[in-house]
């Protein structure tokens, strides 16, 4: 059985090309990332955003000698840990990260010489002075100084401006004969921190210069662009959700799998084409979910497929969604209402219609439409469902009955298939007859919205700035540890997630019977808890 890579982070950057099953849509995205104009790749978890960034990086690097365009891949995954009352802290953190990764990338490519901090070069200090620091390195240290001491008052004039940042890169581009630097920023704007989103997009716009292009990958729910950034004007937005209606859809999904699959898996796919197609349709264009479900149904028999449908699309995907309500407490009502709306209303309605369409040989549906004047909280709730992959956001500005305007969404096909008692029986037929023209409509004042509006009105608390503190203050009971381990933490008087996070492993080992491995696991659980809760 093949051992699949589910995440781009697990593949060596220089090897990503081997796993690339290119579609014309992928090519558009990669070309947009390589072009002079900034691009923002939008897609839900697991659709391949990081992968496309890495492909663009590899292609630019391969042609570097000819084009002199230098790609720099940066992940902002840990940005959620930056919490401060100072509005500049996050900006400084971003700039510091961009500088330090740029320097490291240039050093690794052999384009920039490093000055080791504590190793005496053979020739002594004389040479050190001659090598000197570049402007970028100098401003990187200034930014780092700034964000690493959030409690201290920072002299704002000592922190370089974005203009200094741009100048430093212009300087570097002249010095190294580099035409342009291309930043490829992954996990760019945190889905649940609108303030981070605003600051990110403001910076994104400010950094544009003739020798700098910023590109980013974001989730569909990221919509707080700030005052200066205008989507479509300041960047090309490229949605990378794969279209299940594309005639080559199943073939392309199969190619993605084949890049990683051994011959046994490939043989089973060839022998069970229809069942593989069901899995491919069910994942609704998400390669990570396809690979995971395929790993759970290696023989591709109908029994296995039915079981995977139940496990993943009726249980896992929903529990992942609901888990967000625990992590982002302030969004709880919105998250729970979204699930209830889609699970208990939208999907059953579409299913009933599809049953009758199939009986009379007509086209089927997986689509619904929401009026553009629907309450903001309802739209927010749907955005979060897009982030989890339960929904795919389709076209905005679609006319429905009585020429009313709204947005079309597609329900994850797996979730739709899974409500059937035996999904393999008619899922394939549903998928093959899909048409976006058939969509269930929900108007501007649908009665179902009322419940959410009331809940929100009752419980309106601003969560954005404080959830890190709340997370750190949570009792250790929320950690994924055994009862025994939790008892040990209590013995050491470490009662909150924050306490465990701040404790060193040496401190943890002071408890009886806690050695290296257990101490590590206990601390890891705290780190994982905080990061998971924050980055989703």
């Amino acid at each position: 059985m093949s051992d699949f890579f589910y995440r781009t982070e697990d593949i060596k950057p220089e090897e990503v090309g081997q796993y690339f099953a290119e579609t014309s849509q992928d090519r558009v995205a990669v070309n947009a990332l390589k072009s002079r104009n900034p691009a923002i790749i939008v897609g839900s978890r697991g659709v391949g955003k990081s992968f496309l960034l890495r492909i663009a990086q590899k292609e630019l690097m391969d042609s570097f000698d000819k084009d002199r365009i230098f790609p720099i891949y940066v992940s902002f995954v840990r940005s959620s840990l930056i919490q401060s009352d100072d509005e500049h802290q996050f900006r400084n953190w971003m700039l510091a990260r961009l500088c330090s990764v740029a320097i490291r990338s240039l050093e690794r490519a052999g384009l920039l010489g490093a000055v080791p901090a504590s190793i005496g070069l053979l020739a002594g200090s004389h040479v050190d002075a001659k090598i000197g620091k570049t402007k970028v390195e100098e401003i990187a240290s200034a930014y780092e100084e700034s964000y690493k001491r959030p409690t201290e008052e920072i002299d704002a004039s000592a922190v370089p401006s974005t203009e200094d940042f741009r100048d430093a890169f212009e300087d570097l581009s002249d010095r190294l004969n580099i035409e342009r630097f291309v930043f490829l920023i992954d996990e760019a704007a945190h889905i649940f921190l609108p303030e981070h989103q605003r600051q990110f997009f403001t910076l994104f716009r400010d950094l544009r210069s003739h020798c700098l292009t910023c590109n980013a990958a974001v989730y569909p729910g990221v919509t707080s662009f700030g005052e200066t950034f205008q989507p479509t004007h300041d960047a090309s937005l490229v949605h990378i959700d794969r279209d299940v209606l594309d005639p080559r859809y199943v073939e392309n999904m199969r190619e993605i799998v084949e890049k990683q699959a051994d011959s046994t898996t490939q043989k089973r796919i060839a022998q069970n084409g229809k069942n593989f197609a069901i899995l491919a349709y069910a994942c609704s264009g998400n390669p990570r979910i396809l690979l995971k479900t395929l790993a759970a149904a290696p023989s591709l028999s109908s029994t296995e497929i039915n079981e995977v449908m139940r496990d993943h699309y009726r249980t896992t995907i929903w529990s992942e969604h609901s888990a967000l309500a625990e992590k982002y407490y302030g969004h709880r009502n919105v998250i729970d209402w979204g699930r209830e709306f889609v699970e208990s209303t939208v999907i059953p309605e579409i299913k009933t219609k599809n049953d009758s369409y199939l009986a009379s040989d007509r086209n089927t549906s997986a689509y619904f439409w929401i009026h553009r004047d629907a309450p903001e909280v309802v739209k927010e709730s749907l955005r979060i469902l897009c982030y989890t992959g339960v929904l795919n956001e389709m076209e905005a500005g679609i006319r429905a009955t009585r020429s009313e305007i709204g947005k079309r969404y597609m329900v994850n096909l797996g979730c739709l298939f899974a409500v059937d008692a035996s999904p393999t029986t008619q899922s394939f037929e549903i998928a093959k007859s899909l048409t976006p023209k058939r969509m269930t409509e929900y108007g501007a004042n649908h009665p179902l919205y009322k419940n959410l509006l009331e809940l929100e009105a009752r419980n309106h608390s601003d969560d954005s700035g404080r959830h890190l503190e709340r997370q750190l203050a949570k009792p250790i009971q929320v950690l994924d540890l055994t009862v025994w381990q939790k008892e040990k933490l209590t013995e050491l008087e470490l009662t909150t997630v924050g306490d465990v996070l701040n404790a060193t492993e040496e401190q943890l080992k002071l408890a009886k019977y806690v050695g290296d491995v257990r101490a590590r696991r206990m601390r890891n659980a705290a780190v994982a808890a905080v990061l998971e809760y924050l980055s989703g």
Partner: protein, 237 residues
């Protein structure tokens, strides 16, 4: 014979080789990258606190000798110094767990043997060593042990003048592009092995600040290993 003139002539040849190496963009980019590893080693050194630090420092110095030798066309010496630096790097980690051996070695009463420090049962790649310091990386133990032993053997081939390196003994001194590239590829492998051994030994005991210092070095080299991603909290999805 004017001996001074003889060595001046040699020195001029070396200078010419260095100029040719710098002029070759591919070779010099690799040289710069290998030089930049010193920055990583500097960061690693900065988070270490035990007496083994001095051995790590010596390894860094030996590594610099190897860089100087390669750019000046002293190919055999370059590989020899690279091998010795690998040995010293690994030894520093080994000594961190064997203080008595460090003392004896420092006093000159005990020798350093590659076979001892990489011994299958007691060395830095042994099951026991990983079990004691970082069991999570146990899965990769044999893979990196093999890698270290391969790169050590390949460097030795140049040191001992094995048949494939014989052309090196020719009397004419000139820039050898292939050997230069071969050296930098080995330097890159040496770095990977050192970062692995360093991660095994130290990551579990570093506090948050030190982990932050070392993160870019370790993630750059071992970032595709899930266990390492976990340690640095880099798993975002």
């Amino acid at each position: 014979m004017d001996v001074a003139e003889y060595y001046r002539g040699l020195s001029n040849s070396r200078t010419e080789i260095m100029a040719k190496c710098i002029a070759s963009s591919e070779a010099f980019a690799m040289h710069t990258t290998s030089h930049n590893f010193l920055k990583d080693y500097g960061l690693m050194l900065s988070v270490m606190s035990g007496p083994e630090k001095s051995v790590f420092d010596q390894a860094c110095r030996e590594y610099q000798y190897s860089l100087e030798a390669i750019i000046r066309g002293n190919y055999r010496h370059a590989f020899s110094s690279l091998r010795l630096s690998l040995e010293l790097f690994i030894a520093s980690v080994y000594f961190s767990a064997h203080l008595m051996k460090l003392k004896l070695w420092s006093a000159g009463t005990d020798d350093l043997h590659w076979a001892t420090i990489t011994d299958n049962d007691k060395g830095v790649f042994s099951h026991a060593f990983l079990g004691a310091f970082n069991a999570e990386l146990g899965t990769y133990r044999t893979q990196y042990a093999k890698l270290a032993s391969s790169v050590y053997r390949e460097c030795s081939e140049y040191v001992h003048g094995n048949p494939i390196t014989h052309e090196d003994s020719a009397l004419n001194i000139e820039f050898d592009f292939d050997k230069t590239i071969a050296f930098h590829e080995r330097a890159d492998t040496v770095r990977l092995c050192i970062i692995f051994v360093f991660s095994v030994r130290y990551l579990s005991e570093l506090d948050g600040i030190r982990l932050n210092i070392i993160e870019p070095v370790v993630m750059d080299a071992l970032g595709t290993i899930a266990e390492v991603q976990g340690i640095f909290g880099a798993t975002g999805k």
